[in-house]
């Protein structure tokens, strides 16, 4: 059975910039089905439309066109049934300062008409490491603890579909591990999980299938293993303190002094190293590793950029195109020109 279904969903907002009445298309004809029991990842850069999708799913925002179903219920027409099957962990760290943790969970249970829920509330408190904070006021909790309560609130009515909108943003390792153990257990019990995160290693480890979203459109949708197979294969990794040539910089993942470049074949590795040598950079700790989801993500996002840039006449100056595109051709041209 399909747990979540987005059927040609578009959403436009009035743009705060530009002339009055200008609209901004946040989602463009999104089509996506998530089956019951899946652990599904929804990835994309900031502003890609992930939270808009979740807001429409949760009934916080109305789609401009299209239809969204949860467990067979239309989120607008049958909102009560749809929402009772859905547990959403919002992205913002919000809380009600008037109540303690246990009161918060009891009240949230009550909204869904769940009676005598103390046993499950105790299990949630235990499972999420909140047992010793049950009687603490929400104001007294740290950010990480508040995040745990948000998760517990979303799960308090045992929803068959769980939506986690960046649940580990800014939280410590311990919470991440506790949270993922708990959510994985629920997923094994048959709960469908939809996760958005910027921690791609989490998505790689947890999600069976992943959709990548960019500028309101799904640009990749496959199982995690297939997406990893589609990657360049390997990554050239080295350290340098100098400034990379523009063509390399456009393709590279740079973290401090560590540079990582997707490498399809030996020729490409040679081209990279030649470009580095020509620019006079000193490199050390050179190594090859297997590509991970982050490499796939960057590759797909860049690929889509190239396609978009190639489509429009107003894509920008040619230099910017070459630098942004980071295509093999751009790299080869620069390398040849500089050697």
């Amino acid at each position: 059975m399909t747990a979540i279904s987005f059927q040609s969903v578009s959403k436009s907002y009035l743009s705060p910039k530009g002339p009055k009445g200008t609209t901004f298309l946040a989602l463009d004809q999104v089509q996506l089905d998530i089956q019951q029991g899946e652990f599904f990842g929804l990835l994309g850069p900031h502003g890609a439309g992930k939270t808009t999708m979740i807001s429409i799913l949760a009934g916080l925002t109305k789609a401009s066109s299209g239809r969204v179903m949860v467990m067979g219920h239309d989120v607008q027409k049958d909102y009560a049934l749809a929402r009772s099957t859905l547990g959403v962990v919002p992205q913002e760290l919000v809380f009600d300062p008037f109540f303690n943790v246990r009161e918060t969970l009891r009240i949230q249970s009550g909204y869904f008409g769940v009676k005598n829920n103390n046993a499950w509330i105790d299990e949630l408190l235990e499972g999420l490491g909140l047992a010793d904070k049950a009687d603490a006021n929400m104001r007294q909790l740290s950010g990480g603890m508040k995040r745990r309560v948000l998760v517990a609130q979303a799960l308090v009515h045992k929803p068959p579909v769980i939506v986690l909108d960046e649940p580990t943003a800014g939280v410590d390792v311990e919470l991440r591990q506790t949270l993922w153990q708990f959510v994985s257990k629920l997923n094994k019990q048959g709960h469908t999980v939809l996760l958005t995160t910027h921690y791609l290693e989490e998505a790689e480890a947890l999600c069976g299938r992943i959709a990548m979203l960019k500028s309101g459109r799904i640009v990749a949708l496959d199982t995690t293993s297939e997406l990893l197979k589609s990657a360049s294969g390997n990554v050239l990794r080295f350290k340098t303190t100098g400034t990379l040539p523009p063509a390399l910089a456009a393709r590279a993942r740079v973290t401090g002094s560590v540079v990582q470049l997707p490498a399809h074949n030996a020729l490409q590795i040679e081209q990279y190293l030649a470009a580095v040598r020509e620019s006079g950079l000193v490199v050390e700790d050179v190594e090859m590793r297997k590509a991970d989801l982050e490499d796939v993500f960057l590759d797909i996002m860049n690929r889509d950029s190239n396609a978009s840039l190639g489509q429009g006449p107003s894509a920008g100056p040619p230099q910017a195109e070459a630098a942004n595109a980071g295509s093999d051709e751009a790299l080869a041209t620069t390398s040849v020109g500089s050697t």
């Binding site: 907002y13 807001s55 949760a58 009934g59 916080l60 925002t61 109305k62 909102y79 009560a80 049934l81 929402r83 009772s84 859905l86 959403v88 919002p90 913002e92 919000v94 809380f95 009600d96 300062p97 008037f98 109540f99 009161e103 009240i107 949230q108 249970s109 009550g110 909204y111 869904f112 008409g113 009676k115 609130q153």
Partner: protein
Amino acid sequence: MTGWQTLLYKEVLRFWKVSFQTIAAPVLTAVLYLMIFGHVLENHVKVYNSISYTAFLVPGLVMMSILQNAFANSSSSLIMSKVMGNLVFVMLTPLAPIHWFIAYVGAAIARGLVVGAGVFVVTAWFADLSFVAPWWIAVFGILGAALLGTLGLIAGLWAEKFDQLAAFQNFVVMPMTFLSGVFYSIHSLPPFWLGVSHLNPIFYMIDGFRFGFFGQSDVSPWLSLGVVGFAWLVVSALALHLLRIGYKIRS
């Protein structure tokens, strides 16, 4: 408890947990009004023939407290939840617009009546009161709180910032309550202001409420009931419509 009962319980618990601010403070304010106005005007103002000014003042102050606190409860709860972002916990639930309406207005009535009872208990010591028609007292107390609680719901949905809500409270609710005959009989006003007072629905609430105590009023309690009941139906229809379309809460 069902969903709407839980929301009602939560809204009542919310003001009860800060009762020093939400109940004790308005009771003290009303007592101060009574002591100052009662002391200054007792021998200078004559309203209904056989009733002292302080006795006349008590039901007005009780009703004014009911109305102001009913408005404050629903409006402040909504604006706080909107600004702090925790309204999302209610928005994610299967609760229907009518459930929101019952819970927010129900809690506003509860707070209005609790404060009104508190003001009455304290101020009744200062005056010799009668209860000619207690049902009118109950009807206007509840209906008045419901009307202002519903207006508070609308204001809470409309306002995006605390100062917008404060403006609504200070420039609409406060003048309407003060100019409604709390401190005087409108028959003591010049003809123009007498006519203006008849356009103020809060005047009918206070006049009908006072009739329950003394059996005397500026207009018939049935007329007051009709005006207040009609006004409540109009603002309720508006509030339910705003909740249905998710006005300023669902984009």
